[in-house]
């Protein structure tokens, strides 16, 4: 990989009217001047919790963050216990620790949780997934939940759909053919049949 400044004519060639080339040149110069935007750290991956209520004081925000942290710790403990308790009941062979999912910081308070265990890749390149969800509301007929892979917050690859009943708990097996290292997160959304699909759980 070369690291030199890209040459304008190497990039776009020399075809086009002078006005057209000048227009491209301006965008080229602005891109060089701007440089790359910084990547968001995990801390900034989600919108701040400011949206929980209007006019929060700094103390209110800190208190909210403390409650969120406590909730996250409790959820993690719940998730790990839930998985450990159920792991022996299946022939699914997990290859790592469970990936925990929780509601996005800017969403309404929710007890919904999910976890994903990734199994060993099969001989044709599929990754088996064991997904356990709890606390999700049963959806009306014709709607379901969907699991996606994400990268930098963008929803990119569909992994499967599922539904829940009663207490909102379910365990489902999926299989995906993607190269998982190309992604950095997961989300559960309401289905596209929902009037306004939204991210309900995220990693």
């Amino acid at each position: 990989m070369s690291q030199k400044t890209p040459d304008f004519f190497d990039l776009v060639g020399d075809e086009g009217t002078p006005d057209e080339l000048a227009q491209l040149r301006r965008a080229h110069d602005m891109l060089l001047a701007a440089g790359p935007p910084p990547e968001l750290s995990p801390r900034l991956a989600e919108a701040p919790a400011a949206a929980r209520s209007r006019g929060h004081s700094a103390w209110g925000r800190r208190k909210g963050a403390a409650f969120l942290l406590a909730g996250a710790v409790a959820a993690a403990a719940f998730g790990v216990g839930y998985l450990v308790g159920d792991r022996g009941s299946s022939d699914f062979q997990a290859r790592g620790t469970p990936i925990e999912m929780h509601p996005p910081a800017a969403s309404s308070p929710s007890t919904a949780r999910a976890s994903i265990l990734i199994g060993d890749r099969d001989e044709v390149g599929n990754w088996p997934l064991l997904v356990r969800a709890s606390g999700l509301k049963p959806l009306p007929k014709g709607q379901w939940y969907e699991l996606y892979l994400t990268r930098q917050g963008k929803i990119l690859a569909w992994c499967g759909a599922f539904n829940v009943k009663g207490a909102g708990r379910t365990t489902v097996h999926f299989s995906v053919p993607y190269t998982l290292k190309g992604f950095d997160g997961w989300v559960v959304t309401s289905s596209r049949q929902h009037p306004r699909p939204q991210v309900l759980l995220t990693t």
Binding site: L24, M30, P36, P38, E39, S107
Partner: protein, 184 residues
């Protein structure tokens, strides 16, 4: 590949929903602008940790001030830039400044007006890049910010070299059109 939503609301639509207390819209607006605002904060404050604090404060201000936005006074990007700039300035003032030392000779660094201009241009470029079709954005990011040559991009994305050039040209054209109205 299935996507959650193929039709993206405009910034103005999102901000109107934020003003009505819509948290999803706030999250979407945040995803669109967070990197641009973080870049702005890092340039102004020179410290990643304080810049991240400033980003959170900036978006808290956006949430609180969304109702003050008037669509007839212009697009969202400059309004959000002004809100973010104020939050970043507040964070900058909160710092305990060491005593200044006079330089022996004039600095070659850009002065405040030039810095402000550079910050605004970078902010808008980063935001405009987010609006490009993914195929064009990816090619431009690889060419300008990852240092790949056109043939390396062609190999990396497994697309013909001619397609790389076509996407580069159309991406630059689209970027230029998006930026020229505001940046002149």
């Amino acid at each position: 590949m299935p996507r959650v939503s193929a039709i993206q609301p405009t910034d103005e639509e999102l901000l109107a929903r934020v003003a009505d207390g819509d948290r999803d819209a706030f999250g979407d607006l945040y995803q669109r602008y967070a990197r641009a605002v973080l870049g702005l904060a890092i340039r102004r404050l020179g410290d990643r940790g304080r810049a991240e604090d400033a980003v959170q404060e900036a978006f808290a201000s956006v949430w609180r001030a969304a109702r003050s936005y008037k669509r007839d006074r212009g697009p969202v990007a400059p309004w959000l830039y002004a809100v973010a700039r104020n939050a970043i300035a507040d964070r900058g003032r909160a710092r305990t400044e060491p005593p200044a030392e006079l330089a022996d000779s004039p600095s070659d660094d850009p002065g405040p007006p030039e810095q402000a201009e550079q910050s605004w241009v970078a902010y808008r470029v980063h935001r405009a890049m987010e609006e490009l079709p993914e195929s064009e954005r990816t090619v431009l990011e690889l060419a300008y910010w990852s240092g790949l040559s056109q043939s390396e991009i062609s190999d990396y994305l497994a697309i013909p070299l001619g397609t790389v050039k076509t996407r580069t040209r159309s991406g630059l054209r689209r970027l230029s059109e998006a930026l020229e109205e505001e940046l002149g």
